[in-house]
């Protein structure tokens, strides 16, 4: 037990970063917090990226585990108890010092602290709490903190920790109770949803406290998030979306993250990922997630029982528009905001700009370009003052051919086309940033 204490901070950081990297959420968004004039730290609502690693993902937070000791045995996880790996444990002071020193050099926006289950869920949660307590009260850190709530931990500990964090998350891990049972035998749907519900209810109560008393301490002010592993179990995209939707609705989550499965343990009971993790699928899920959060789409509109999986060639918004071609064209100068949002090529920003700009007079296609509309896609779905663009036809076959080219349209009709055959996409540019879906 004391052997690992001999490891240097350098070695610990290496092991506990490596063990944390599959957790996807690195965002520091959700809260605007001014500095207090004395202590170090503030936050910006949109979040700040401090670097980008060679996988192209944003580095915003110091994303580490408190420890990779774990008594659980989740089959997809590198830290599972049955694996023979180096195990270490950070002391709270070590975490605080690295966080502070990285923060003042502007390497990071804050801390994202997760952990394996060290002995018991309670002991682990207690250690997480102590670390945050020190960071806030001894090191006077006022920057962003995202911390995991450990399933099965005492609700009192979770509550105390939530008053020190900006964001908390409990990982859903897998979309269905059945997959969870198979792949994460020590976790149950219940031990995961319970703390999720607790955080939701406590946040609601806290909002009322803050109305009564402005300076009441804030509970998880940047909200709650979760993540699911994509491609380790057999759910369809439709099931994944339906789960996502109910998480937003029933648990008031701020974000649901998806993590393309990487078979780190080469576990033969799980899908192999030699041809790379299912990045296109993850990408499509993020696109659909954006549609639900910002574009007023329901899961049922994007996929349904007859279309259980995403179109590999088309983004979900284009796909929806072509399937619902009778709703187009949309007239730019009169359509309401909600209908503008439905047009492929028009994002939230450009829809708002259109509404603001047309008060001054009618807009032309040329104007739309300046507004930031992606005309390449939008022209098939809009009119400006009653005019279609050039010789464009509002016809789904025609639009498909324009958007994809003949070869892909032919492949589109082959029923067996799936993600695996499309590894050609995997060198592409996928991320979950906002610029991606307009």
């Amino acid at each position: 037990m004391f052997l690992e204490q001999k490891k240097s901070v350098y070695d610990k950081l290496k092991i506990l970063t490596d063990a944390a990297k599959y957790d996807v959420a690195c965002t520091s968004s959700g809260i605007e917090k001014k500095g207090d004039g004395t202590n170090i730290g503030n936050s910006i609502k949109a979040g700040i990226c401090h670097s980008f690693s060679s996988d192209g993902r944003c580095i915003s937070l110091l994303k580490i585990l408190l420890t990779n000791y774990c008594v659980f045995n989740c089959s997809y996880c590198i830290n599972r108890v049955s694996n023979d790996v180096d195990r270490v444990l950070f002391t709270p002071d070590e975490i605080c010092t690295i966080t502070m020193e990285f923060y003042r050099r502007n390497y990071i926006e804050g801390l994202f602290l997760s952990s394996g289950i060290f002995k018991t869920p309670d002991i682990t949660m207690e250690l997480l709490y102590q670390t945050l307590y020190k960071l806030r009260n001894e090191y006077n850190f006022n920057g962003y903190i995202h911390v995991k709530a450990i399933p099965g931990a005492d609700p009192v500990l979770i509550e105390k920790t939530g008053f020190l964090a900006d964001r908390m998350s409990v990982n859903l891990e897998l979309p269905t109770a059945e997959s969870l049972k198979k792949l994460a035998p020590n976790k149950t749907r219940n031990t995961i949803l319970k703390p999720m519900r607790q955080i939701q209810l406590r946040r609601d109560a806290n909002k009322e406290e803050l109305v009564l008393y402005k300076r009441a301490p804030k509970f998880v002010p940047a909200g709650q998030s979760t993540q699911m592993i994509i491609g380790a179990s057999n759910e369809s995209d439709y099931e994944l979306l339906a789960v996502t939707e109910s998480l937003y609705k029933k648990f008031a989550l701020k974000r649901v993250f998806y993590s393309a499965f990487v078979n780190v343990n080469n576990d033969t009971t799980l899908p192999m990922t030699q041809s790379g993790p299912p990045l296109l699928r993850e990408h499509r899920l993020y696109q659909a997630d954006w549609l639900m959060r910002f574009y007023e789409f329901k899961a049922e509109e994007i996929l349904d029982k007859n279309h259980k999986n995403f179109n590999v060639f088309l983004d979900p918004k284009c796909d929806w528009a072509i399937r619902n071609i009778e709703m187009f064209p949309v007239e730019i100068n009169t359509a309401d905001y909600h209908n503008l949002l439905r047009v492929p090529g028009i994002g939230v920003k450009s829809a708002k700009r259109i509404v603001a700009a047309r008060r001054f007079g009618s807009l032309t296609f040329e104007n739309l370009k300046k507004i930031g509309v992606v005309l390449k896609r939008a022209v098939y779905f809009i009119t400006c003052s009653g005019q279609l663009y050039g010789s464009v036809k509002i016809d789904s076959e025609y639009i498909l051919r324009q958007l994809l080219g003949d070869a892909d349209v032919r492949r589109l009709n082959e029923p067996q086309v799936n993600y695996r055959q499309l590894s050609l996409f995997d060198g592409g540019i996928y991320n979950d940033s906002s610029s991606l879906l307009r």
């Binding site: 690693s53 060679s54 993902r57 580095i59 690295i98 001054f360 007079g361």
Partner: protein
């Protein structure tokens, strides 16, 4: 065609706007240019405008009264742009607003060319500032002083100083704009200020690095290398998100 030539600062540009309005010239055949940032054209008449703080202030007051605070703050940011035509775009936009009797912020009127230009310049500088919020790297010198270098296209120094004064109030720090030889100096719990014509000797800086600086740089590089998922390697995405020009002074190895 008359060209009013002003210096590259807000007071001078607004002095020129005032001058344009003074009734001496035909406002429709008038351009504003920044001194040193234009090619001389034979058939144009160039007139150098004297900077006059009180005239500039009058322009500010008029803008604030008629078009509102939001308009003014956007225009002010745009005047920190590195683009040479910013003064003219601002002039034409104010002219348009006055001639068409606008009240309140009309910068959402994307039909008008000079307003499109203002929006473009604004987005460009706004994005650069936001990028630098994340990409600034402080090094610790002796006596716990922090030092950072930047090379932004636009003049971002004051906006960045605002941000870091709020974030790091109890630190002594300097941010140095290498391309412009200007530095912002912040003393612990005091107001920051701008120093011009600064030359920084990098060798001197490197000799002054604190004893622990190297240790934290090493830890940061380690973290940076370890956090990336090998199976997802995507240098193209990294390059898109993190343009090379922002990497000149970073610590981590992105090659």
């Amino acid at each position: 065609m008359i060209v009013l030539v002003c210096s590259d600062n807000i007071a001078s540009i607004f002095s020129a706007v005032y001058e344009a309005w003074a009734g001496k010239y035909n406002r429709d055949a008038l351009e504003l240019k920044i001194d040193g940032a234009y090619e001389y054209e034979f058939f144009k008449e160039y007139i150098k405008v004297e900077t006059d703080e009180s005239r500039a202030q009058k322009v500010v007051n008029t803008i604030k009264k008629q078009f509102g605070k939001e308009f003014l703050s956007i225009i002010s940011l745009v005047l920190w742009s590195y683009e040479e035509d910013k003064a003219d775009a601002v002039y034409k936009t104010i002219k348009y607003g006055i001639e068409t009797k606008k009240y309140g912020n009309f910068l959402s009127d994307f039909r008008i060319e000079c307003i499109q230009r203002i929006n473009k310049l604004y987005r460009n500088i706004y994005n650069e500032i936001h990028h630098y919020y994340g990409f600034v790297r402080f090094s610790e010198l002796d006596k716990e002083r922090l030092f950072a270098q930047i090379r932004p296209k636009n003049y971002c120094l004051e906006a960045l100083s605002e941000h870091f004064a709020d974030r790091l109030p109890s630190e002594n720090w300097i941010i140095y704009d290498v391309g412009r030889n200007i530095a912002a100096v912040h003393k612990m719990r005091a107001q920051w200020f701008i120093v011009r014509d600064v030359i920084v000797d990098n060798e001197l800086i490197n000799n002054k690095l604190s004893d622990r600086e190297d240790e934290y740089r090493k830890l940061w590089r380690l973290f940076f290398d370890t956090i990336s998922i090998e199976d997802r390697k995507n240098k193209k995405l990294q390059r898109n998100n993190f343009p090379l020009r922002f990497r000149e002074f970073i610590i981590e190895d992105t090659k």
